[in-house]
């Protein structure tokens, strides 16, 4: 019996390892390829392990590929969008959760309904809008359309509603006004949701493609790292550079995945399980 059990455990691990290897293979190629020369990347049979790792693709991507600039733009754009979404979501969700005000129901419905309209469907007029506001090909133009999300407002409202009634009864007895209650009680208690929203917002902003492509036009000084990859990418003759840029574009997100996995999963599965 024990040998049978052992065999079963081993076969389970074997299956897990095989599937894991298949799923992670593209990411493995990304990392290993970034440490190889072009000749090694295109060798037949393929070279799976960078036996003589070279870092020159990275220095080349930063020096001639201007990766540093793309990276700075992406960091700024994603940070601004994340902070903006967190602030507008907390603000609106707090009003929806705690305050009676005119048109509350219809405004809440209108804000939730925005998640039914994919951003892709709104790009045409949004391009005209940023143009008429004279912020096309600027950081403002990259950021402003994304400063609020229906999802974020929904998530934060849920979090505020789950705070026990006793908490604000006590706060009111202590003489807390709405402002003090928001910052001293509601936001600290809703921290996991704030983190989930922030991680989700950052991931989405960092990986944006269509809007940065259309909005930045030919102004390379305001293009994100995804646009940088688009610029170098496309052919095998620059594959080492593209892969190095790809590693730089993916590494921060992998760090997020490892350290904020719980929060990321919370935001990704909101609405999945009733």
């Amino acid at each position: 019996m024990p040998t049978k059990r052992l065999a079963r455990t081993i076969s389970r691990y074997l299956l897990l390892v095989v599937i894991a290897a298949i799923v992670v293979f593209p990411l493995y190629v990304l990392f290993s390829g970034s440490l190889m020369t072009l000749k090694e990347i295109s060798s037949i049979p393929p070279q799976l392990i960078p036996l003589h790792p070279v870092w020159k693709s990275y220095s080349e991507a930063f020096n001639t590929g201007n990766l540093g600039q793309y990276l700075a733009v992406s960091l700024g754009q994603s940070a601004l969008i994340t902070v903006g979404q967190v602030v507008t979501s907390i603000s609106a969700a707090f009003a929806f959760a705690y305050i009676a005000f005119p048109f509350k129901r219809i405004l809440f419905a209108l804000m939730l309904a925005t998640s039914m309209i994919p951003f892709e469907v709104t790009v045409i007029a949004n391009l005209q809008t940023v143009h008429s506001l004279h912020v096309d090909e600027t950081m403002q133009g990259l950021v402003i359309p994304f400063l609020a999300t229906g999802f974020g407002i929904f998530l934060m409202r849920q979090a505020f509603m789950q705070i026990p009634k006793e908490m604000h009864e006590a706060a009111i007895i202590d003489g807390y006004g709405p402002w003090k209650y928001l910052w001293r009680v509601a936001v600290p208690l809703a921290r996991p949701s704030v983190a989930a929203l922030a991680v989700f917002g950052f991931l989405g902003a960092w990986n944006q493609y269509l809007w940065p492509l259309l909005e930045t036009g030919n102004n390379t000084s305001i293009q994100t790292i995804q646009m940088g990859i688009r610029q170098v990418g496309g052919t095998i003759s620059t594959a080492n550079l593209t892969l190095a840029a790809g590693v730089i574009a993916t590494a921060p997100l992998l760090v997020l995945l490892v350290f904020f996995q719980k929060h990321l999963i919370r935001s990704l599965t909101a609405g999945a399980v009733k």
Binding site: L16, A20, V29, S42, S91, A100, F101, A125, P178
Partner: protein
């Protein structure tokens, strides 16, 4: 959830006269963004669809009624676009959902180190469209040895009318499989333990339990996952844009709706027709979401 939410009655705790203004002031920032960058551009599509843009900028456009819509619906280009979009989803979604399901079931075991596998299985969720596309370009290229090592000899995929679209859909499927795994794992973890225990006691084999109990109970989550997958595939743009790149591929086979919008906007500068395509993309997204709501509602009725 509803039991806890009802702890807050009606949500009006701070009731003083100026709180009405406070509430409006707090929702105002989000409201401005939504009004300006979601609702206005959304409805503007309909107006742009009704007016035909002049061939040169700065000239007035003129009203053409529904002419552009009927032109679009009757054109071979549009039908090809819809066809490519459907094929794209038919490859991306099943691959992603089935792959995610297999991984979710495997990772739902009590084994040492299973958390590492969970992280690996979800890892593709962080990959951007651009990164995923360039990596798959390297893997699928006839100039590298990855496919050849497996005995697969393909032509240059991205310029091949046969393989272009499936290759791009494969990129989306890989990206989506991480998300599918996360959604399905959450679903698995929310299944009642008692039922699983009872069936184990009843002596059902693991395989029977999986097909007779786990999958039926999980079916609403599987369906939800499918809907998320369809929406993800409808919005896949970077994968296609990068893989077409400078390869000079023929666009007809990979001209999915979102890419068609981009080309109409960027290359032909035909905003009117692009707006019509946007409305079509919206309608398809809406239909998929509504079907999901209907089925979820039905499930709730069963549950009561």
């Amino acid at each position: 959830m509803s039991a806890r939410a009802s702890l807050v009655p009606g949500g009006s705790v701070f009731r003083r006269r100026r709180d009405g203004w406070l509430g409006l002031a707090l929702v105002l920032p989000a409201l401005i963004i939504f009004a300006g960058f979601t609702y206005y551009p959304f409805f503007k599509n309909f107006q742009m669809g009704l007016f035909k843009a002049a061939p040169f900028p700065n000239l007035p456009s003129h009203y053409v009624g529904t002419a552009q819509f009927t032109t679009m619906l009757g054109s071979a280009d549009f039908l090809d676009s819809v066809k490519s979009t459907v094929i794209y989803a038919l490859i991306t979604v099943p691959l992603g959902v089935i792959g995610g399901l297999v991984m979710a079931v495997l990772a739902h075991q009590k084994l040492r180190g299973i958390r590492i596998f969970r992280t690996i299985f979800s890892s593709s969720v962080v990959s951007s469209a651009a990164v995923a596309a360039v990596v798959f370009q390297v893997i699928l290229s006839p100039q590298t040895g990855y496919l050849q090592a497996l005995g697969i000899h393909l032509p240059d995929i991205t310029s091949s009318p046969t393989w272009g679209l499936p290759a791009m859909a494969l990129v989306s499927a890989w990206q989506f499989v991480g998300l599918a795994f996360i959604i399905l794992t959450a679903g698995l973890q929310s299944l009642p333990d008692e039922i699983m225990e009872a069936s184990r006691v009843d002596g059902a084999t693991a395989w029977t339990r999986l097909w007779r109990i786990t999958f039926p109970l999980l079916s609403p989550t599987i369906f939800f996952c499918g809907v998320v997958g369809v929406i993800f595939s409808l919005q896949s743009f970077g994968q296609i844009d990068i893989m077409i790149g400078t390869s000079g591929a023929t666009y007809t086979h990979t001209n999915v709706l979102i890419y068609a919008i981009y080309r109409l906007l960027h290359v032909s500068q035909n905003t009117g027709l692009a707006a019509c395509y946007s409305i079509a993309l919206f309608v398809i997204t809406l239909l998929v979401t509504l079907i999901q709501f209907r089925l979820l509602e039905r499930r709730v009725h069963y549950a009561h």
